[in-house]
């Protein structure tokens, strides 16, 4: 439920979220949270679909965005076994690292060549925001599920 809400929120607030590159990336955050509950293949498929939608919304990088998000979904689901533990901060670290990797990959793959400022400064700030917002949303949803 929280994943669907994050994705809908991402497309609803798209105008404001893309205005500043360092804003939280709710789409990648939602995908990473979904990947925690899905098989790796399905997570990759979800990432691919979300990537195509994202590219259609932004009119850029149809192949690149779908490829990167498919890989993020797959790796997110596979890394669950390696990283996951019964602790809250693991989700935070997982969201932060996943978003950073996704954003740096997208920045490096976009036309016009690599943007070092984006990769080294804006991407980690965005990843931090994503981890905070999506981690908090996940915690709230978990507390509602298990009062």
């Amino acid at each position: 439920m929280v994943v669907v809400a994050l994705v809908i929120l991402h497309f609803t607030l798209y105008r404001f979220l893309v205005r500043w590159p360092a804003m939280p990336n709710l789409l990648v955050g939602g995908l990473l949270l979904a990947a925690l509950r899905m098989r790796a293949g399905y997570a990759a498929f979800l990432g691919f679909g979300l990537g195509v939608l994202e590219a259609a919304m932004g009119l850029e990088g149809l192949g690149t965005t779908s490829l990167v998000l498919a890989l993020v979904g797959y790796l997110g689901a596979r890394s669950r076994d390696l990283l996951f533990a019964d602790a809250r901060h693991y989700v935070f670290v997982y969201l932060f690292a996943g978003t950073w990797i996704a954003e740096v990959s997208l920045i490096l793959a976009m036309p016009g060549g690599p943007n070092l400022l984006g990769a080294l400064v804006l991407a980690p700030v965005s990843a931090l925001g994503t981890a905070v917002v999506c981690g908090a949303a996940e915690s709230v949803a978990a507390s509602i599920r298990r009062p």
Binding site: Y14, Y42, G63, S66, D86, V91, M110, G112
Partner: protein
């Protein structure tokens, strides 16, 4: 957060097959040409993304309504003054051409369209959608401009929607000449050291010079852009010099960010015998042969 039960044991091999198929699909999507990408984008924007785009359009329409009205009023007054000057200029031009026995000047017609800029969440926007029912039948690729200057190139059209690239796109090229006709070159986008996107005119013949402040306009070679559209102003000679040619940094005439209403050149209505007479070639066909498809590659 507590441990999440992931269900049955995973079949890694099947997952890998799914990922491999998705990678191939992504690769195919990356290889789509402009018209195919536009088709897919249109389907998605007209179905799944429609509610979000409708909400966004409604917000944009309401936000800053007063500001837009004031700007439109200013533009209307400005256009009225220009129209008054243009009427006299047109008459004088017709009379002079008649005296010199030149054919009627016919640069083709223009289609007014609404421009929707791309807004990628990562990176800069290089693409745009054009919306106008009058776009149907327009030949592509074709130039997109506003009265201030060149905006970009329209790549493909499907129904009343077109997909194009701003001049900031890394693949964009346009042949230019100085307004005085003294030098020619090819313009592309160029990211300066501070991260600002400028233009770079390359291939200026060694013996020709472009002075600082010289105005560059489209040369009209190749038949993609009409001649005489302002492209930018020369800032200084670039440090990068290749062989027997010069390069110059150019301040663009138009920054694509705030552009919303544009005109697309309908070159279907261009009369081949009435090519710009100040170009070096004698007829439009020769110009196309010599220039090839250098414009908007």
């Amino acid at each position: 957060m507590t441990h999440i039960n992931v269900g049955r044991p995973e079949n890694h091999r099947r997952d890998l097959v799914i990922v491999a198929v998705l990678l191939i699909l992504s690769w195919s999507l990356a290889g789509l040409d402009s018209s195919q990408a536009l088709g897919l984008t249109r389907v998605l924007r007209g179905s799944v993304l429609k509610p979000f785009l409708a909400a966004d359009a409604a917000y944009e329409q309401r936000a800053g309504l007063a500001t837009r009205a004031a700007r439109l009023e200013t533009e209307r007054d400005d256009l009225y003054i220009r129209l008054q000057g243009a009427t006299d200029l047109e008459r004088e031009n017709r009379e002079l051409r008649a005296q010199l026995s030149l054919p009627e000047r016919s640069p083709g017609s223009f289609v007014v369209a609404e421009l929707v800029p791309g807004r990628p969440s990562i990176g800069d926007s290089h693409s745009f959608l054009l919306r106008s029912l009058a776009l149907v039948g327009t030949h592509v690729p074709t130039g997109v401009s506003i009265p201030d200057g060149l905006v970009g190139v329209l790549r493909s059209i499907s129904g009343g929607t077109g997909l194009g690239d701003f001049w900031t796109h890394p693949d964009f090229r346009v042949s230019v000449r100085s307004a005085t006709g003294g030098a020619t070159g090819i313009v592309r986008s160029f990211v300066a050291e501070g991260g600002e996107t400028l233009m770079l005119v390359e291939g200026v013949p060694y013996q020709a010079r472009m002075a600082e402040g010289a105005i560059l306009e489209t040369a009209g070679l190749g038949g993609v852009f009409p001649g005489g559209i302002r492209v930018g102003t020369v800032i200084e000679e670039s440090a990068s010099r290749s062989g027997w040619s010069h390069s110059y940094l150019v301040e663009p005439a138009v920054r694509p960010g705030a552009v919303r209403a544009v005109t697309a050149w309908n070159r279907a209505s261009f009369v081949s015998g009435s090519a710009p007479q100040d170009s070096s070639a004698t007829s439009f066909d020769e110009v196309v042969e010599e220039g090839g498809a250098v414009d908007g590659l």
